[in-house]
């Protein structure tokens, strides 16, 4: 998995998910495991669209929450890595296409 600035993040298109009252529940259809994001996690999830890097997502956090840029980036990278390990997100190279 790469978290370099050139890599964009995208939701796994096979997932079922819903934001309900600022919290997001995600279900992976393959293993039927449920995952839950808190409000800031949900904010990031909403903005994961295959067109933003971790740094860009962190900037959005700084704009919308009271958080320092360093902490926003650290939190964003940690969440993306965790979600990637659970196959909830995938990376998209700047040239397009989904990274394996």
């Amino acid at each position: 998995m790469s978290t370099s600035a050139a890599v964009f993040w995208q939701k796994n298109p096979a997932l079922a998910w819903r934001e309900i009252d600022d919290e997001t529940v995600i279900i992976s259809p393959n293993d039927s495991v449920m995952h839950e994001l808190n409000d800031t996690g949900s904010f990031l999830w909403k903005n994961i669209d295959g067109k933003k890097s971790a740094a860009e997502l962190a900037e959005l956090l700084v704009e919308n929450y009271e958080v320092t840029p360093d902490m926003a980036l650290s939190d964003t990278q940690a969440l993306l890595e965790e979600m990637s390990s659970r196959k909830l997100v995938v990376t998209v190279p700047a040239t397009g296409g989904v990274s394996p």
Binding site: A14, A16, R18, S32, V33, E36, F43
Partner: protein, 402 residues
């Protein structure tokens, strides 16, 4: 600020249910796309004629509204859903809107190509009705010769394509003792199963299907079967099937959540965080509670869900305040359903004979001495008074004449 991600089916489901019940979010919706069917099951409660099903565009509009309202779990059923020629278009829209999609089907029309399409559209699970492992028994219920063979042929196809399969077996007079065969079949296939003792009247209230219902006394061998663990006190009274069997080794990580503590003191999830939509756009609290709260051809889903008086009345019901059942000493053995209370007893808040008799048998089998429901205690008291009153009157008359 920390963005967090939690996982694990039960805690996440519990929290989700608590939040959605508290705020009345329509988490789960059962959407029948058609009442038309290619089987004619003897116990079916539906009128199979098409009285004006929602069009494709209307169905897609309903899905948009449900997604906006917070629905996550969406079950498409019927009738037989594969009779809708636009099924894949509807499923594709559901996929785009990120629902967790389950289907209910008799699987007669499942082919490898169709299973592959379902998989591509991220359908997670298909629940299939199987009434017996014996063709003559199953086919006599569906009234379609060869139907068991075709249904069973579909299951490996669905599994091979990565879909989860669950067997559903409603028990009635025609197949009561076939449940063991269905359990063995499920084990052989490696899939979960559900046995259901609920046979309901037709949706118009007529009682035809009830002629196939098994009497409570005839259910005793089933209730006594240790493999089903059916006689334990239930943690809450739910509009759930009378017997649920989901061996842990076959269980899916997304639980139904039906036993969540969030439903404590509520009759069930109906109208709190779940509802039913008919092929004609009528919104009901539940498929077993046929009181339409509104119609999606005339009103927005959110207007119905948040403002319909039928739903507001339902949400006000608390088990602890039910006029008879709240006093019942064997309540923990009861699976009272407000819809069946309405259809069978005429009162959504009332007790009804079937639930009381089943609770008494379950309590007796669990070792409770001479269990009697509050309804039967009340009826016995009334009967005694009716019987004794003339005698007292007679005594009074006699003593007066002395």
């Amino acid at each position: 600020m920390t963005a967090t991600l939690s996982a694990g089916a039960t805690p996440v489901m519990d929290r989700l249910i608590s939040r959605t019940v508290e705020k009345h979010r329509p988490l789960s919706v059962h959407f029948d796309l058609t009442y038309r069917c290619n089987e004619r099951c003897v116990h079916c409660y539906l009128d199979h004629h098409d009285h004006g099903e929602l069009t494709t565009a209307e169905c897609l509009n309903v899905l948009e509204e449900l997604a906006r309202s917070g629905t996550l779990f969406l079950t498409f059923s019927g009738g037989e859903i594969f009779l809708r020629p636009d099924l894949y278009e509807i499923l594709a829209a559901a996929r785009r809107l990120h629902f967790d999609i389950s289907l209910k089907s008799n699987a007669l029309l499942v082919t490898a190509e169709r299973a592959a399409r379902l998989r591509c559209l991220a359908v997670r699970r298909v629940q299939i009705s199987v009434y017996s492992d014996i063709p003559a028994v199953h086919d006599a219920i569906t009234k379609v010769p060869g139907s068991l063979e075709r249904t069973l042929a579909a299951i490996p196809i669905l599994l091979e394509h990565g879909l989860q399969v669950k067997l559903a077996c409603p028990l009635m007079q025609e197949n009561l003792m076939a449940y063991r065969g269905v359990m063995a079949l499920a084990e052989k296939l490696g899939v979960p199963y559900i046995l259901d003792l609920t046979i309901t009247p037709m949706m118009d209230g007529s009682g035809g299907p009830l002629a196939h219902r098994v009497s409570v006394s005839s259910l005793l061998p089933v209730l006594r079967d240790p493999a089903l663990n059916a006689c334990k006190p239930q943690p809450s009274s739910e509009a759930a099937p009378a017997i649920k069997a989901l061996p842990a080794t076959f269980g899916s990580a997304v639980s139904s959540g039906i036993e969540s503590a969030a439903y404590e003191d509520l009759p069930c999830s109906a109208g709190h965080n779940s509802c039913y939509i008919s092929p004609y756009g009528d919104v009901f609290p539940c498929v077993q509670l046929p009181q339409a709260a509104g119609n999606l051809r005339r009103e927005k889903f959110e207007d119905i869900w948040y403002h319909a008086p039928q739903l507001e009345r339902l949400r006000a019901i608390r088990e602890s305040q039910l006029p008879i059942c709240s006093r019942c000493e064997i309540r923990s053995y009861c699976e009272r359903c407000p819809g069946l209370a309405l259809m069978e007893g005429g009162d959504m808040l009332g007790a009804y004979q079937r639930a009381c008799a089943l609770a008494e048998e379950k309590a007796r089998l669990a070792g409770v001495a001479a269990p009697m429901s509050a309804l039967h205690i009340k009826q016995n008291a009334a009967l005694a008074q009716t019987t004794l009153e003339p005698e007292f009157a007679s005594l009074r008359t006699n003593s007066g004449s002395d």
